[in-house]
Symmetry: D3
Subunit: 131 residues, 6 copies
């Protein structure tokens, strides 16, 4: 289904292989998912994406589970099937319970609803909200 | 700038006034923001929106600050200026620090980036991600 | 605020002027709104857009008010402020009552909400829905 | 393909079963489509969604077929495959003819086109359009 | 998977057949892709779409390959799987190299990222950018 | 209008100042636009965004003007007013003529239109387009 074939480990350039090695070490699993196998056609893009993702999703002022749920929410709003699947799986692996998932869905739906109604009404921003 | 004028307290129908009373009581402030003043033209839609929002954003398995940040993330992805402003203000009021906000922006940007690249590549969903 | 200045009647090329004449005749008003004054920088694009819009929005199996409401709904979903304003005004001019507008907003909000939740859940299409 | 398995009738909680009973009674068919079978994992979200959908899509100032076509238009703009399929099927069941469908497609396409061009030009809203 | 069956050559109305003949002559291939076979249910929409596409995508101030890459970029941003596939194939047929494709993906991703962050920050447009 | 105040040169942290110095040197102008003044609240995000932008937009297999036009196209599709303004200005500074701009608008509009119609029709991807 993709616009490029997915690269197997045997097809990787040395630069792409180095990124795959880091992904495996960081995630402590041998499994490397299809996104990286598609990106591997362009080792520079693969490297830049992985390097940035690793920083952005690391523990910080927000914990990694919150970050994954934010990722799911944005991916749903942007209609990215692949990303919804992969980050929902990651969120579960990081501890998202069924109750948390249900509330995530409810917020995503509520936000989409009021976003649409506000945009249809073209409501003017309150002075109180502006920095 | 809106498609309807914003209603002042004096313009409200009794049904709309009752909702405004609840908003004020729940939020413990006299201030009612423009969204509700636009929605008040249709008291049934106002009532349904408020009743649902109150439930969805209440404390649960996710805490209210996480819910507000999810709301900001979806609103940014959907391009709703008003909602970005109002929910960013709410998130700050609920304790979002500058560090948390910076990380929220970084995740929103990262997700949008990979959403776009994955969609451009039409990467096939891994079997491992499907329920 | 635009990326091009709005052209006044005195600035129009003959090709653009001819389109403005048709807009005025069709709508039976001297007023030509900003969209056409921005498009007028490119008379070929202006002509193609007006010619197609006239056909698409004409009475047919759907009446013009339904078409305007569909236009508002799509414009809200796409986050186009200008289009929301202009087509909401057109819908009112064609007879959209406050009750109809309230129901339009409710459907737009409901659709946005379930769109987001379905996308987050990645629900598989029922065989019964496929042609 | 979903992020959750679809629940069969035997898997339902009593709260979810009650909603399914209402869906069957309202629609006068035994068939309950996949959306509800995915939502049924969270009976509260299922209940809130069904209760609201029933109100929003009921006959009112707009007839149910117009509402379904609005739903299709928003779902297409939001890129929700499932929703496009399910609401196109519903619109046909409520009487949408091939001619009406062709005109719906034409309006959706025209709106998307002008939305994109207006947004690219950042056309300023006419004073005449503001409430 | 579509909402309408794809029409084979034997199913075409005379008006649709005439458009197919033009597509084949213009593209110098017997192959007519699924988009046109779905649109063929509405010969007027088929005709209008083909006539406009032919003009828009013709060589001009921008060369056809640049136009195809713009089409891919917009289609990815709008989440249209079909369009991403068909226009990526067209761009390759018109000479898009692997290096060009990698850079296209990088720009699409970068733009999506900064679009999201700017929207989240609601940055005010610089006076210097306004026409 | 933003969610954060824009930082003047006097407000910058040393890390942010270093990025501003690079922006000025690279662009050969003293002017630093609002996007960077908003991002400067988070020097790490500012640094990461600038470093990546510089690489992505540099001359390569695609020339910088084509990259700017792709950026405009994606920004319009994503509804980012600020980005549309800033990258349209950049494209003009890099040589985009009125004719090129008109064709860019025409492609963006055409793509948005067919994206919407294809999504509404849920056309199945041709085998011929899949890698």
């Amino acid at each position: 289904m993709g616009t490029v074939p997915l690269l197997s480990d045997d097809d990787l350039s040395p630069e792409a292989r180095a990124v795959f090695d880091e992904i495996r070490a960081t995630r402590q699993t041998d499994y490397v998912n299809n996104f990286w196998r598609a990106l591997a056609h362009d080792p520079a893009l693969l490297r830049a994406t992985w390097d940035r993702l690793k920083v952005v999703m690391a523990p910080g002022a927000l914990d990694p589970l919150v970050k994954e749920m934010l990722y799911v929410a944005v991916s749903a709003a942007n209609g990215c099937s692949y990303c919804v699947h992969s980050h929902t799986a990651s969120a579960r692996a990081k501890g998202m319970s069924d109750e948390m998932y249900g509330e995530l869905l409810a917020v995503v739906g509520m936000a989409a609803q009021t976003n649409a109604v506000v945009t249809a009404l073209q409501v003017e921003v309150d002075d109180a909200f502006v920095a």
